[in-house]
């Protein structure tokens, strides 16, 4: 992303103009999965916000401050005014920081998207937490839940400092995150989803935990359109395993079919759990992704 020289940047992940535009946007989850604690996210249940919802009969023990005295004077029957309850929504950012993300700007793009979506949460006075998953068996790096505009710096610093390495499969990383995480809301999972494991189980657990899945698959251009040919020995960047492939150029057609099938499978798995899925290239312009693609897909508003 272009940084104008001489201008102090708030973060190295996003330039100030992008931040400014992001501050005027909000996350747009399909369901209102909120916490009981008060927040700025309107739950739809009766609450204490200034937004009137309905009347109900007064019951003994109700707070008399919510009795509509004008109605009482006209009807001589007490009615209690009901207001929209504003509850807090939890936005949990899960960033795949394994070695497979260290190709062609995938990890950087994942961190930028995490920063942007986290910023949307903070600006909407949601609780935002972040996890970075590197090594299998180790606890993911963790940004405790924070909220409010003031927490922007913490969020950005956390994302700026996480390093990419390791072999943490994303499905296991999600489960590791859920062992620590409490709260309902949105789980933004940023990964390439190139895993040997079964991500259905991880998505099920996210769904069970009351987290709406925002899955973003970040792929490198060479993964989307590999230009290879001949006999090759592929080396897995995470575990060093090798795979001999002969006449790789002849297999590209099948490769594309399998890649699209994986996207289809991920999208279906997310939709079945009221979630959303998006696959992007690490070379796609960030502004186009944030302000065009996500908006058109209804992820943000």
């Amino acid at each position: 992303m272009e940084m104008s020289p001489g201008q102090t940047q708030f973060t190295s992940l996003l330039d100030n103009a992008t931040l400014s535009r992001l501050e005027r946007m909000r996350l747009n989850p399909r369901r209102r999965l909120t916490n009981r604690s008060r927040g700025e996210h309107q739950s739809g249940k009766g609450g204490t916000s200034t937004e009137f919802v309905d009347y109900r009969d007064y019951s003994p023990g109700d707070d008399v401050r919510y009795v509509d005295w004008n109605i009482f004077s006209r009807l001589e029957k007490p009615f209690v005014k009901l207001y929209r309850h504003e509850e807090e929504m939890h936005v949990v950012l899960v960033v795949d920081a394994s070695s497979s993300m260290q190709f062609e700007g995938k990890f950087d793009r994942a961190k930028q998207l995490a920063a942007a979506l986290g910023l949307l949460g903070l600006m909407n006075v949601e609780r935002v937490s972040a996890y970075s998953c590197n090594h299998l068996g180790q606890e993911p790096a963790f940004l405790p839940p924070c909220t409010g505009r003031i927490s922007r710096k913490r969020l950005f610093e956390f994302l700026e400092t996480i390093q990419g390495s390791g072999e943490f499969p994303i499905e296991q990383a999600v489960e590791a995150v859920l062992r620590r995480h409490r709260g309902r809301g949105i789980a933004v999972v940023l990964s390439d989803f190139l895993t040997f494991g079964d991500f259905d189980r991880a998505f099920n657990r996210l769904f069970s935990a009351g987290l709406e899945i925002f899955a973003i698959q970040v792929l490198a251009p060479s993964e989307i359109n590999p230009e290879i040919t001949g006999d090759l020995r592929f080396v897995d960047s995470e575990n060093g395993h090798v795979l001999d492939v002969s006449s790789a150029g002849d297999l590209l057609g099948i490769y594309h079919e399998h890649r699209l099938a994986l996207e289809e499978e991920l999208g279906l798995a997310c939709r079945q759990r009221n979630g959303r899925f998006l696959s992007i290239s690490s070379r796609d312009p960030l502004d186009w992704v944030l302000f065009d693609l996500l908006r058109r897909k209804g992820w943000v508003r």
Partner: protein
């Protein structure tokens, strides 16, 4: 529908080399060099490789193209080492004696500036050499009027090609027997099933030989039209030589089995039967030039139709010895050059000198009626010459006289004496050699002979023949007239004295004496001179036991030593032209030899060879031989090697 032909292998044991395929496959997979490429995750590629389509046998095969090329390369090399061949259908032979006719007619061209028959034969034999299989061996034998082995049985194609390249046409007539005998001798050292004969078919149809092997008679395409001199001779008449030249026009064609073609060729131009219309490409016009001592003295133009001949007569002064050369200058295309020139050596014309014993009055009386003879001792006396052309005597000691022709009357040779005994009574001649020059037109029936030479007990005719005598006449009890050729001398023996027989009173006696004189004339070269043919120079009497050097027309030199009697013989003369005999660098004689072969000039071919017990038909199609395939496999292997090299070094690999 014929049976399917499968290729054969000469070295089947090399099939063990196919086992090399196993280590090749193992090493291929162990040592396959693949460029390493680090990718984020193998997850997608593993699922790709697990795809059923990827694991189809064809895809696996396609992905291992390098291995496929290496396997094909190895298979090609192993197949080449197994020495495959494609059978021609003919029976395979291991030892191939190849007889190549290199007689004069093989120099015939098929068209102007075309190939000679020998060149055609060389091309075909060269192809045969090229297609020789490794277990086959070939021997080349040149056949003309004799046979010459060019190579041993060898599989060295270089040696065979070199020998073939050096082969030249001998300007002599064909004679097949020597070549076949040589092949028969070779067959005693190595098994020979079939001999191959390459000829233009212009060879004698009847071969006096019993074939112990099969003969593959390969007849080459015939040459073109030809004009040639087929006879050259001279007769002495009135201080002049009448030189006769016969020129024949020949258009190639098959000989008739009964020799009708030869007879037709001898037909003169003035035959009553009208000649057939000449073919469009025929040009029978020519000029015949006569040179005497390198000076042209006569020229005559002739026009011949195909198959016709013409006899020309020229007169040459006989006052001194002369070398005559006849040249034929055809106007159009002439297939054969060798028969366009002929040589004739004419001696000085002189009377025949005869020594006739004084006691042989009947002979002396008979000689008086013969012209151009001088008889010694003369009745009127006088000196006798040192040598005679003919000696007629009844004394054994007259054998010391110098002469080339002797007639001994009542003289028994020493070596024959022990085979004979003399009895009582009279004998009659029961049989005689009527075609012998000595007895031509002489009727010997009922001649009473008082002498009775009788063969000793147990003596057969072959005993005389073993001593070199030919029996010209014989009684029931034994031979009466013998003839022997001794060192160029013609010796005739009457084993009875004519004075004691009724022969001098018979009409045949003067004819008998005339025959003797004619023999002497011929021996002395006084009556008729016939041009010498190529082959061997005629024996010539020179100084005894002297070393002579003979230089041929092609510059070749031969050294030979004359015999005790001074006869120089056995000089090979395969090339037409003049042979010069030198003694210590000094020319002592010169002999011209010519082709003069009507059969060679006719360029007619035979359809089949007739041997004693069988006949062999000519084949005009080219001989098929087993076709060796190893070069194809080796070439294919080389091609695969190039493809593999290109594939290995130029294929793009890794990230494009």
């Amino acid at each position: 529908m014929g049976a399917m032909t499968w290729p054969g292998f000469l070295a089947v044991h090399s099939a063990w080399l196919f086992l090399l395929l196993i280590p090749l496959i193992i090493f291929y997979f162990l040592k396959l060099r693949r460029p390493k490429l680090q990718i984020p995750s193998l997850a997608l590629w593993r699922s790709v490789l697990a795809d059923r389509r990827v694991n189809s046998p064809f895809q696996k095969f396609k992905r291992n193209l390098l291995l496929l090329l290496q396997l094909l390369l190895l298979v090609c090399l192993v197949l080449a080492s197994m020495q495959p061949f494609w059978p021609s259908g003919a029976e395979r032979v291991q030892n191939l004696p190849v007889l190549i006719d290199c007689s004069a007619s093989m120099a015939a061209l098929d068209r102007p500036d075309g190939l000679s028959r020998l060149d055609e034969a060389k091309a075909r034999i060269g192809q045969l050499i090229d297609e020789m299989l490794p277990d086959q061996r070939m021997s080349l034998i040149a056949v003309s009027n004799t046979a010459r082995r060019l190579t041993e049985f060898t599989d060295d194609k270089r040696v065979l090609r070199a020998a073939l390249a050096e082969l030249k046409v001998s300007q002599v007539a064909s004679r097949l027997e020597d070549g076949l005998r040589m092949t028969q001798a070779l067959a005693r050292t190595v098994p020979v099933e079939t001999a191959f004969l390459y000829t233009d078919g212009n060879i004698p149809a009847i071969v006096d030989f019993e074939l112990p092997f099969q003969l593959n008679f390969q007849r080459l395409p015939s040459g073109g039209n030809n004009l040639g001199i087929t006879a050259l001779s001279a007769q002495h008449r009135d201080d002049q030589w009448e030189v006769f030249v016969r020129v024949e026009g020949a258009r190639p064609g098959a000989q008739q089995p009964d020799g009708a073609a030869a007879n037709r060729a001898a037909t003169t131009a003035d035959d009553s039967a009208p000649p057939a219309a000449p073919p469009p490409d025929w040009n029978g016009a020519a000029a015949v030039q006569l040179f005497k001592d390198n000076r042209k003295i006569a020229e005559e133009a002739i026009v011949l139709d195909p198959g016709q001949s013409q006899r020309l007569e020229f007169l040459v002064d006989a006052s001194g010895p002369s070398a005559v050369e006849v040249r034929l200058m055809p106007d159009g295309f002439d297939a054969l050059d060798a028969d366009n020139i002929a040589y004739l050596d004419l001696p000085v014309a002189r009377p025949l000198t005869i020594y006739c014993s004084s006691e042989l009055g009947s002979y002396r009386q008979a000689l008086q009626g013969i012209k151009d003879v001088v008889v010694y001792p003369a009745d009127e006396g006088g000196d006798a010459p040192a040598s005679f052309d003919l000696v007629i005597t009844d004394r054994k000691e007259d054998a010391e006289l110098e002469s080339d022709t002797f007639l001994f009357v009542g003289v028994i040779p020493d070596d024959v004496g022990k085979l004979l005994k003399f009895g009582e009574g009279t004998v009659q001649i029961v049989d005689w050699h009527r075609s012998a020059p000595l007895l031509q037109h002489v009727l010997l029936a009922d001649v009473q002979i008082a002498d009775t030479p009788t063969s000793a007990e147990g003596v057969k005719d072959k005993d005389y023949e073993e001593l070199g005598y030919e029996i010209l006449a014989q009684a029931r009890s034994g031979p009466l007239i013998l003839q022997k050729n001794l060192g160029g001398k013609q010796l005739s023996y009457l084993l009875f004295h004519t004075d004691r027989s009724t022969l001098p009173y018979r009409v045949g006696f003067p004819i008998f004496v005339t025959n003797v004189v004619q023999m002497a004339r011929r021996q002395a070269g006084l009556s008729e001179v016939v041009a010498q043919q190529t082959g061997v120079l005629p024996p010539r009497t020179l100084s005894p036991e002297t070393e002579y050097e003979v230089t041929g027309p092609d510059g070749s030199r031969q050294s030979s030593r004359s015999s005790l009697g001074g006869v120089l013989s056995g000089i090979a003369a395969p090339v037409i032209g003049r042979y010069v005999v030198k003694e210590s660098g000094r020319e002592v004689a010169s002999v011209g030899v010519s082709l003069l072969g009507p059969s060679e000039t006719s360029l007619r071919w035979i359809e089949q060879l007739q041997f004693r017990e069988m006949s062999v038909a000519a084949a005009e199609t080219m001989l098929k031989s087993d076709y060796s395939l190893w070069t194809w496999f080796a070439g294919l292997g080389f091609g695969l090697l190039l493809v593999e090299w290109w594939y290995f070094h130029h294929r793009p690999a890794g990230m494009a």
